[in-house]
Amino acid sequence: MNLVIRKREKSLGWGVLVVYLVALALALFVCALLLTLSGKSGMGGLAILFRAAFGQGYSLLDSLVKAIPIFLCALGVALSFRMQVWNIGAEGQFALGAVGATWAALTFSGLPGFALMPLMFLCAMACGGAWGLLPAALRLRLGVSEIISSLMLNYIGILLLEYLVFGFWKDPASFGFPMTAEFSSGGQIARIAPGVLGKLHWGLLACPIAGVAYSVFLSRTRLGFELAACGEGERVARYAQLPYAFLVFLVMGLGGALAGLAGSIEISATVGRLQPTVMVGYGYTAIVVAWLARLRPWGIAFTAYLLAAFRVGAEVMQLEMQVPAAIGPIMEGLILLCVLAGQFFLTYSVSLGRAPKPEAACPGGNGAEEARP
């Protein structure tokens, strides 16, 4: 008896869901095992995790609030990943978006909300988008790998943000602490219904809008179709006379704009001012989310929400069980590993059975490649 691995001929359908659920369960099981090994109650830990992440109205809302920036950033990087352009720079684009929005909020603080808010978003998207265009230009003009340049621009973007906040944007009333003045009320995104929906704010609206736009763009427009074709490789694209360079600019610019939008929403809705600590790595989480979701918008929404919920849950686990803070990232890493491993089963089928006889399967005698022991 051997394990026979074959490439699937047709998609699994609803089986996909089963694979994902099993992978998730496996990750959580390993997590519980780790808790047990460190002398805590494994099952108790998972119970707390789920109660804290999904058990109460406010925990669902907290997770949703946290998922908003992750979703927008992930959508942005997914767009470029679609055409195999590796934008690792969402974190820096997020920072630039925050900077752009802050500039608008501080410069035009007298404007009413309906004028100031769109202006902030516009500035944020322009700054984030420009930050995304830089690696695109370097890639197309000088052949610099966008993986390296977009990653490096993250650090520059964050330093730029710090430079401004420690420098001339510093609030004179902050006792020298690094933070800008609080935005005027027109520059702060309001909560939808503070009594009923907790911290959930109007920034949530950006998610369905961006998500639908992403989906329509990819499935209903010519550019979207060309973009998918470019995913087959640059040479294919050029051979088919697709506007490859333009598309690279487009996805990097749009991706940057989305991350920038996330940055402006985050500072405007949850902190109400710019401070260096708004940079908590959503841009990197976004990459994980985009991959886990295989670049599909509804998958991104779900995964962003799930990871946000687990982070919220992990905090309460800390509070109630005194486990180290590292449990959060460990859990995230385990989920990523298990789901990526699970994705193998989406492309290949594994069955127990007699390996096909070499001469029957492959006259060339290369059967070993097809059927591994």
Partner: protein, 370 residues
């Protein structure tokens, strides 16, 4: 489009659950803080900015928590490695929801989140560390660690041979600048020729980077490394080069036994125990700025390393005795800034407000406050 129907379904589901759950949410708008003693179990929560295993700032706070945990009828818990901003607000709110009576938010960046949550939970008492905002149910507190730094500065002033002392510092905020100034005033009170060179790492806890920063200071001739960081990286750098070091937060001698002269250390237990006692007895009040010094035991210096001669130890301990009596003359003028301009006039003692907003270096510091 089918995908979108599914996504919309997920969203509606989540919102429906959320709405359903809201009915179970605790009643926030309960009557404001009932005065009077609190009977039964007292739940005290602590929010830390870094992991408690850091041997640094959060570790020191956690020692205070452990002291509180030993008190009768008190239960404590904590959440570590909490980022400022939105995350902090959620963590603090989860404590308030979870029935905690008193929450210590131990990092500057938790100030606004604490204020926001405090407004919604008038029954919960909040103590915020190192900030400047307060309200009916929020007081802020801190320790005069600069007094301890002054004493470590005197030690360094005696021990330096190159008259150049390095200082690896986190962020150019008043707390750190005040510490550097007090340290430098200590150094120059016994060694007017000495200089203190400052590098900013813009990190609180990054062992590798903070060690590198110390190495760069050693490269330019510093023979003692002081630090305002939460990692022991700078201590290790000094020991590897055969130079001396001065620790911060806790006794760091175990990381660099051959280098560690002494350290400016926090001792939060007295303040935390006193606060919990106040809450228990119903005498706790908001709108206070509690700033304890060496006289109340909130700060101290670590035991001297064996390389510090007896006469130096005695001189430092003599100054410490004055501080223990509450005679704090560290920021008494004339004190000049780096440009030689008198910032605190002769005979004048800087007020706490000035110290809390200090953004300039005293004469003798080499470096910029940017």
């Amino acid at each position: 489009m089918k995908h979108w129907l599914r996504a919309a379904g997920v969203l509606v589901f989540i919102l429906a659950l959320a709405l359903a759950g809201c009915e179970k949410a605790p009643d926030k708008a309960a009557a404001p803080a009932a005065a009077g003693p609190k009977t039964g179990e007292l739940k005290v929560g602590f929010v830390y900015t870094s992991p408690v295993g850091d041997a640094g700032y959060s570790w020191a706070h956690d020692q205070g928590r452990k002291a509180v945990e030993k008190m009768d009828g008190v239960k404590t818990s904590y959440v570590e490695a909490v980022k400022d901003g939105a995350d902090a607000e959620r963590v603090i709110e989860n404590m308030a929801r979870g029935g905690f009576d008193l929450v210590f938010a131990t990092n500057f960046g938790f100030m606004d989140p604490t204020m926001k949550v405090a407004k919604d939970y008038p029954n919960v008492k909040f103590m915020h560390c190192s900030g400047f905002k307060s309200s009916e149910n929020v007081s802020n507190y801190f320790g005069r660690i600069y007094q301890a730094r002054y004493l470590t500065g005197i030690t360094a002033g005696h021990m330096t041979k190159s008259n150049t002392i390095g200082y690896v510092a986190a962020f150019p905020i008043p707390e750190v600048i005040r510490g550097i100034n007090a340290f430098t005033l200590g150094v120059r009170s016994v060694n007017p020729k000495a200089q203190v060179r400052v590098v900013w790492t813009k990190t609180w806890f990054d062992p590798a980077l903070e060690k590198d920063a110390a190495v760069s200071l050693l490269d330019v001739g510093c023979d003692i490394i002081a630090q305002h960081q939460n990692s022991p990286g700078p201590q290790e750098a000094a020991q590897e080069r055969g130079k001396y070091s001065i620790g911060y937060n806790s006794d760091m001698s175990s990381f660099a036994p051959k280098a560690h002269l002494t350290a400016a250390v926090w001792n939060w237990a007295p303040l935390y125990e006193a606060t919990v006692k106040e809450v228990r007895e119903g005498t706790w009040k908001g709108n206070r700025a509690i700033w304890w010094g060496m006289d109340k035991g909130a700060v101290d210096i670590a035991p001297f390393g064996p390389m510090v001669p007896k006469d130096v130890q005695d001189k430092v301990l003599a100054q410490k005795a004055l501080l223990m009596k509450g005679e704090d003359k560290i920021f008494v003028g004339p004190i000049k800034d780096q440009g030689g301009q008198v910032k605190i006039a002769a005979g004048v003692k800087a007020e706490d407000k000035e110290l809390l907003g200090m953004t300039w270096f005293v004469e003798g510091v080499v470096g910029s406050v940017q």
